[in-house]
Structure formats: structure tokens, C-alpha cells
């Protein structure tokens, strides 16, 4: 009986520090551990004692790639705790800045982190030697996403303009209009991107996932809505804790999320698409049809096409919001603190992001809980790897390792977020 190990100590092209260790005894997987050694930073602990208005700035520091996600979910939670609702104009501006983050994050992942796997390059920089136009298109798309975040939020990473109740300053119509030529180019480039990735080869892997995403009656979900699942769940953010819980396992500094009965579930672009495809914008819907995407998409490698579709959607939505833009007056509403618990959710680029805070009557935080998308996907990623390895034992260690890495990158795991996540080792004894 031959034994093999696959061992990747430091997984590349993901955000943060993770590893994979797989031990095989013949064709049996005896051990599979997707580990997270990113050091813990204890956000939930040091948020206690801080003032509720400070939380959007502090939680944005959980992740440099998706700060808008953290700011949005925490602001939603604080407004829920204090019992306020904001104007439609503020909600529109929140959706616009979130579109910027989806474009920036998806373009980064699609072109710089994931496409090199499909095309056989070590990195996008290697890829740029043969495919300069594609890489330059990806960089420009990413730059436009960042430009949206910068105009609305003040800067790309850890933007400064979002606050509980709205924005410090509403951008002027003229500031937003400066984005228009790039957004029009970007919509066209995003449509070309969808065609490009549709032509990739997708490894065979189909699984019967439990998909979980937000849903909103008026729009493809981003900053507001309820939580729904492919099993018929339909709950408010306040009910999240009664349906999902986190487990702490030894190999990981990230907590693993499962449903009440211990079932792994899948969040992110595929879950959003499968549960909300009827809400796609016109160009995004047409591009999905051209790409042959029909819900449910159950091959996780095809998530790269879904990301391209969501980039198209984000450009269409950005243009629409700018067309209809009326600066919110005032840019923020007053939010007097009141004692209570608030629940906040939003769709970060990688999936559902849940926050819960308890504050006292002076607005000081007594308790905080944050569940990032990568924690929720971690058990599902391990289950994908189990099936993928079982079906591909004939591959060499080198090819199997690369395919495992590619499968992990299907989820665009953000380890910095999940640690509160990867290093790959395959052991074949």
C-alpha cells in the first residue's frame, strides 16, 4: 500500500496565511486539514468598551480587501440597535460604494489570483508576459472599482467617509460624473471578461451544496435584505444565530460555521447567483445566458464566471445610481444611542458577513460577534477538496497540489478576515 502526502505550507494567491495538509493511504484520504495559522487579532474582544460610532473604522481594519463589507455590516447593526432607518438617497450611495468594492475585489481575484490557475501561470505577473492586454484590462477594471470607493469613501483602503447614520460628506454630482467615462469602458470590459473566462477549462466537480445568501425584493443583494437558503430558509439578520453556529477546531485560528444540524454551507458569488439570478441587471443577465450559466451552478470552478457576471452587474448599478443621484440631505441622520442588541448583515465580495453588537445606553459596546464569509465557507472548502482528491488520485503530487490550491481559490478565501485561516500539505504514505 503506497502512502502519499500533499503538503502546502503557505498557500499563495490568497489573502492571508493558510495551509493544506492531506494524508492518503492508497486511495483513502486519512487526513485532510485546511489550516489557518494567521495570528488571531481579537477584534471581538477589544471592541468591547469602544463607542458604537467608532466601529465602522475599527472593523474595516479586519480586511484591507473588503473594508466596505465590514463598515456596512457594522453600520447596519448599529442602526438596528438604535432603531433608525436612513433615507433612500443614503442607501443608494451605500450601494454605489459597495459596487466599487465588488469590482475592485472581484477584478483582483479574477485576474490576479485565480485566472493564472486556469491558464497555467504561477502569477499574473508571469501571465502578463504572454497576455499583456488581458492583465492590463484586469488592472484597469480593478482601478475603476477603487476609484468609485475613493470618490465616495475618500480612499481605496479603509475609506473614511462612511459613518453610522450615513456619510460625513455627500459627494457632489460633479464628483460622481467624473467616474462615468471609466464606468462605461468598464461595463464593456466586464462583458469581454465574461467571454474570456467562459472559455476556460473547468475541472469536473459538482456538489450538492446548501447555498446561503441575502435576498432583497428590489435588487440583487449587497447592503440590505434577509438571509435565504436553497433549502427554503428565509430569516432576518436577528434570527441568524438561531440557525447557524461557529465551531472551534484545533488546526485553525478561524472558527468554522455550520448550520444548526452541523451541515456545511456555501456563501459567496455562486450562492448569490443561485438564489438571486432573477434580480440580475439586463447586461449581467444576458451575459449569464451567453455563458451558459443556469441556476443552480454547482461546479465551484465556475465561480470565476459568476464573479465576471457580478462585475458587469456592479458597473450597470453604478451607472444607474449616478444617473439617478441626488445628494442625501443631510448626508447623515442623527443616531442617538440606546441600550440594546443590533444585528447587521451585508454581502461582502466573498459572501454573507454577519455582525452583532450589544451596546449600553451611552453607546458603549458590551459584546461583539463577527462572522466573516471565509469562516462560513471553510467546512465546504474541505468537503470540496475531499471529493476533488478522491476523484483525481492518478494525478502527480505536483498536479494534484495545484488543483487543490485552485479549488481553494474558488472561494477567494480571505484568511485575514477569517481569523478570528492556509498552508497545503498532501501526505501520501
Amino acid at each position: 500500500m503506497t502512502e502519499r502526502t500533499i503538503d502546502v505550507n503557505y498557500l499563495a494567491r490568497v489573502e492571508g496565511e493558510g495551509s493544506l495538509y492531506v494524508k492518503l493511504d492508497g486511495d483513502q484520504i486519512t487526513k485532510l486539514e485546511f489550516g489557518i495559522f494567521e495570528p488571531p487579532r481579537f477584534f471581538e474582544a477589544f471592541l468591547r468598551g469602544r463607542h458604537f460610532t467608532e466601529v465602522p473604522d475599527i472593523t474595516s481594519r479586519i480586511c484591507g480587501i473588503c473594508p466596505i463589507g465590514y463598515q456596512t455590516s457594522s453600520i447596519n447593526a448599529m442602526e438596528d440597535a438604535c432603531g433608525v432607518t436612513v433615507s433612500p438617497e443614503i442607501e443608494a450611495l451605500r450601494r454605489l460604494i459597495y459596487c466599487g468594492e465588488w469590482i475592485e475585489s472581484h477584478a483582483l481575484h479574477l485576474f490576479l489570483l485565480h485566472a493564472p490557475d486556469f491558464l497555467g501561470y504561477e502569477s499574473a505577473i508571469h501571465m502578463a508576459k504572454d497576455l499583456p492586454e488581458e492583465v492590463e484590462m484586469g488592472l484597469r477594471l480593478k482601478k475603476i472599482g477603487n476609484a468609485i470607493v475613493q470618490v465616495v469613501g475618500g480612499r481605496e483602503i479603509h475609506p473614511i467617509n462612511k459613518r453610522v447614520g450615513g456619510f460625513y460628506r455627500a459627494p457632489t454630482r460633479r464628483e460622481l460624473e467624473t467616474l462615468r467615462p471609466d464606468l462605461e469602458w468598464g461595463l464593456d470590459a466586464a462583458l469581454r471578461t465574461a467571454n474570456l473566462v467562459t472559455g476556460f477549462n473547468f475541472p469536473d466537480l459538482e456538489r450538492d451544496y446548501l447555498f446561503v445568501a441575502m435576498r432583497h425584493p428590489d435588487e440583487y443583494p449587497m447592503a440590505r435584505g434577509r438571509v435565504v437558503s436553497s433549502a427554503g430558509l428565509d430569516i432576518s439578520a436577528a434570527e441568524y444565530d438561531s440557525h447557524f453556529h461557529e465551531e472551534h477546531v484545533e488546526r485553525s485560528n478561524a472558527l468554522h460555521s455550520v448550520t444548526g444540524d452541523g451541515t456545511p454551507y456555501h456563501v459567496g458569488p455562486m450562492a448569490r447567483f443561485n438564489l438571486n439570478h432573477e434580480q440580475l441587471t439586463p447586461h449581467a443577465a444576458a451575459a449569464a445566458t451567453r455563458a451558459g450559466l443556469t441556476a443552480p451552478v454547482i461546479n465551484p470552478f465556475r465561480s470565476i464566471i459568476v464573479r465576471a457576471i457580478e462585475i458587469i452587474l456592479s458597473f450597470e448599478e453604478s451607472l444607474r445610481i449616478i444617473d439617478e443621484y441626488r445628494p442625501p440631505q443631510p448626508p447623515a441622520i442623527d443616531v442617538p444611542p440606546r441600550a440594546g442588541t443590533g444585528f447587521g448583515i451585508s454581502e461582502a465580495p466573498r459572501g454573507l458577513l454577519y455582525h452583532r453588537y450589544r451596546i449600553d445606553q451611552a453607546g458603549i459596546i458590551e459584546d461583539a460577534k463577527i462572522v466573516p464569509p471565509t469562516s462560513q465557507n471553510q467546512p465546504t472548502i474541505e468537503a470540496d477538496l475531499f471529493d476533488l482528491i478522491s476523484a483525481n488520485l492518478a494525478l502527480s503530487d505536483e498536479d494534484l497540489t495545484w488543483q487543490c490550491e485552485q479549488a481553494i481559490r474558488n472561494y477567494d478565501p480571505c484568511i485575514s478576515c477569517a481569523t478570528h485561516f492556509l498552508d497545503l500539505r498532501i501526505d501520501r504514505d
Partner: protein
């Protein structure tokens, strides 16, 4: 002549500062042309062995493993530049330095015994000699490109140590504190961000850490004149650069007087 080798290292952080290199969309391929990106796991699977002529280090030291790893990084690096508030001051996670870490661990994790962590989050310079510290939470990509350029030409980076006030004047922003009575950390915070916050009608919150010759005492009395209470002042000084010596001394003095 072979190109100098660049390595990017991550310790406890949010990834935002190394992302700044990928965010230099117009310059990334040019940088890759001038430097061999030899070890940058966030961007590439390929890892070339050291030694490296330039190492950019993101993140703070928070675990025994990382305290040992930074020694190895230093040994493999000719020039070591720390990037961002985590690496230069311990970051937001340095809030643990004023708290009980065992209690923190049990607040976040069900099985605290699985977690191996130090009681403190500290700057890289507290562990190894550092050739240059680039401040910011996040760093400015323009300043990062300046540092990489300066390294390529063998000169000192031109990174000013003056305060955000200078950038506000240059930008033509009316003083938030004087004109609007908005508490602002700009007078004691190093420039580099471009004075964004006051231009968005909020006070500076200190992302770039203490400016040169920062007068904390004067700033604190001005905030108190604006009727900011001491606990709020302590919190304002204890964010992303809270453990930088000047901010730390001021917040600890305030706390002792509570």
C-alpha cells in the same frame, strides 16, 4: 546585471498595505520590470530563495512563531522596510497590550488552549533592526512607490515627517478644529494620507501616527476646550497607532488621571 530581488512578508495584519502594491495598477508591471518579485505569496506561487535585496514587512509580532520568523526574515534581507501601522506601531491589535490576553482569547475562542499567542502586539523594530519605517493605516501607495524607487537608486526615501495640518493648508481645506470645532488629531499626526478626513468634513483620526515633534499636551488641552471628555480622548489616541511612543505616553497619562 541581475535585477534586485523583492520579498513581501506578512505578520499580523489585514493585508491592506501589501495590497497597496497591487493597487499601484499603473505602476505594477513597471515595478515588476525593474525588480524581481521573488517572494510575494499574495501575488504568486513562485518563491525564489533569498537573500533578498529589499524586504517589505507588513504586520505586527503577536505569536512566538512570528517572533522567531522575523529573525529569519531579517537574516535573509539586505534592506528591511516595514510598511503600515501594524508593522511600525503594533496596529489596532496592540489594544491587547492594555488588556488581559487570556481573557481576550476566551472571549473569541471556545477552546483557548488551541490558540498560541503573545500577551502583546509589537512593532517589527522592537524585534530586529529596521532600515526604514513607512507609516499609515493603510500606507499611501505613492509613498510606497517612492520607497521602492529610493531603494533602487540607493538614496534615502523622501517621506516628510510634518503634520497633516500642512497637507490641509496645501489642499486648501478650512481647519476643521478652528473653524468648525471638530476634534482633530491632524496637528499631532504625520502627513502622507493627503489630509483626506478634514476634506470630508471629519477630524483626522491618526492613521499615520505621531508627526515629528508632536505636541500632545497642547492638542489634549484644545480637545478639552471643545468639551471632549477624558475617556473619549484616551480612545481617540488608542486606535491604529495607539502603541506608538508619543500617543501611548499621552493616553497612559490621561488614563492615570481618570
Amino acid at each position: 546585471m541581475s535585477k534586485p530581488k523583492l520579498a513581501v512578508w506578512k505578520f499580523a495584519s489585514c493585508d491592506g498595505c501589501q495590497l497597496s502594491l497591487l493597487d499601484a495598477e499603473d505602476e505594477l508591471l513597471a515595478v515588476a520590470g525593474a525588480i524581481e518579485i521573488a517572494n510575494f505569496p499574495e501575488a504568486s506561487r513562485e518563491v525564489a530563495p533569498g537573500p533578498y535585496q529589499l524586504s517589505l514587512v507588513e504586520g505586527s509580532i503577536t505569536t512566538p512563531h512570528d517572533a522567531a520568523r522575523i529573525q529569519q526574515v531579517r537574516a535573509e534581507s539586505e534592506v528591511l522596510v516595514t510598511i503600515g501601522a501594524c508593522a511600525t506601531a503594533g496596529g489596532i491589535q496592540a489594544l491587547r497590550n492594555w488588556a488581559d490576553v487570556a481573557e481576550f482569547t476566551s472571549a473569541v475562542y471556545a477552546n483557548p488552549a488551541f490558540i498560541d499567542t503573545l500577551a502583546t502586539s509589537t512593532a517589527i523594530a522592537d524585534h530586529v533592526p529596521v532600515d526604514f519605517e513607512l507609516r499609515g493605516c493603510p500606507i499611501s501607495k505613492h509613498q510606497l512607490l517612492e520607497v521602492v524607487n529610493a531603494f533602487l537608486y540607493g538614496r534615502r526615501p523622501d517621506i516628510p515627517g510634518y503634520s497633516v495640518c500642512i497637507e490641509c493648508k496645501r489642499r486648501g481645506t478650512t481647519c476643521a478644529m478652528v473653524a468648525d470645532g471638530t476634534p482633530c488629531l491632524g496637528p499631532v499626526t504625520q502627513a502622507g494620507c493627503g489630509a483626506i478626513c478634514p476634506a470630508y468634513h471629519r477630524g483626522c483620526y491618526g492613521c499615520f501616527g505621531p508627526s515629528e515633534s508632536a505636541n500632545l499636551e497642547s492638542l489634549i488641552s484644545e480637545w478639552q476646550r471643545l468639551e471632549v471628555d477624558k475617556p473619549t480622548l484616551v480612545r481617540a489616541l488608542r486606535t491604529y497607532n495607539g502603541y506608538a511612543p508619543e500617543y501611548r505616553a499621552a493616553s497612559e497619562k490621561l488614563e492615570a488621571s481618570l
